[in-house]
């Protein structure tokens, strides 16, 4: 039984969109990799690209995912399994990629002050490790218009651009894509400990950056 491409409701009971005949790979197992690129290519690519931030690398990872899929044979039923199976392979490839890229050092001593914290906490304010008054959070005026003001967005973007690459990556996944911490750790091979440290640093730095470059200026003008 070789694969044809019925329009819908083909003889094998599957419905599918009509596909160009030239993509018939002639495979007679339960898989139809000829449809993978069309069906799953963009979604897998989007997923990878958001995490590696490099088109060429993302494409390679998706390619490797498909190749691994072909080699391993599969043998499952239903379209949804095929998709999550492929995503599972991609996740592993991503984690491997990250492990190769970053020999990650575990940040073990969390009692040690992070550089972003240094200076901000001292013996003033509320005693040991309280806010140093000069750097303690000020009162911000945050009317809704601020969020959509182009000037403000420019400042925020500029603050975001100061984050180191990997931190920016993780921050973006967490804050904008709303990916859960567990998933980020799994996808990128980051330990939960390192993840919270990165997010904490990002937030502390961004907050202070906004304070200095937006809110302090604004308050001064009034």
């Amino acid at each position: 039984m070789s694969f044809r491409h019925p329009a819908t409701g083909g003889a094998d009971g599957r419905t599918r969109d009509s596909q160009p005949q030239s993509l018939d790979f002639g495979l007679s197992s339960g898989l139809d990799p000829e449809s993978w690129v069309e069906r799953h290519g963009d979604d897998l690519f989007g997923f990878a690209a958001a995490r590696v931030r490099n088109r060429a690398v993302a494409q390679d990872l998706v390619q490797e995912t498909f190749l691994a899929g072909i080699k391993s044979g599969g043998g499952f039923a239903g379209r949804s399994s095929e998709r999550s199976w492929l995503f599972g392979i991609l996740r592993n490839k991503l984690a491997d990629y990250y492990r190769l890229q970053n020999r990650e050092e575990e940040i073990t001593d969390t009692e040690l002050l992070l550089s972003e914290e240094r200076g901000a906490f001292g013996t003033g304010g509320l005693g040991k490790d309280g806010w140093v008054m000069k750097l303690a959070p000020q009162a911000w005026e945050t009317p809704d218009e601020t969020l959509i003001s182009k000037e403000f967005q420019d400042v925020l973007r500029s603050c975001l651009s100061r984050l180191p690459d990997k931190v920016a990556q993780v921050f973006r996944l967490r804050e904008i894509d709303d990916v859960s911490s567990e998933e980020i750790c799994k996808d990128l091979g980051v330990s939960p400990n390192n993840l919270w440290v990165m997010l904490h640093r990002a937030r502390m730095g961004l907050r202070r950056c906004l304070e200095v470059h937006w809110f302090e200026n604004k308050q001064r003008d009034e």
């Binding site: 790979f25 690519f45 989007g46 494409q59 906490f121 959070p137 925020l156 937030r203 502390m204």
Partner: protein, 90 residues
């Protein structure tokens, strides 16, 4: 009793996961008497909203779709790979 350095760490962590109940309690007690950390917590929430409001093009986002050449390359490569598979049992 928490100091502010510890409290700010917990505030950040609370944005990503549910804190263990005793940590949550310590954090809330600290926030009762520390106006600066209260501001910090509110400001992190504002930061989250503000980041989400940014138009997607504003960020360094890699395009989300494969190019048509990319797709062609991939299909060609997959076809090669399929050819190399052992013949299926009839």
């Amino acid at each position: 009793m928490l100091n502010c350095r510890q409290a700010t760490r917990l505030i950040s962590q609370s944005l990503d996961a549910k804190l263990p109940w005793h940590r949550r309690l310590q954090m809330k007690v600290h926030l009762l008497y520390c106006v600066w950390c209260r501001r910090y917590a509110a400001q992190l929430k504002f930061l989250r909203r503000a980041t989400r409001e940014l138009p997607p093009e504003a960020l360094d986002a890699a395009p989300q779709k494969l190019s048509s050449e990319g797709k062609e390359q991939m299909n060609a490569r997959l076809k090669e790979s399929v050819k190399k598979l052992p013949p299926p049992a009839e």
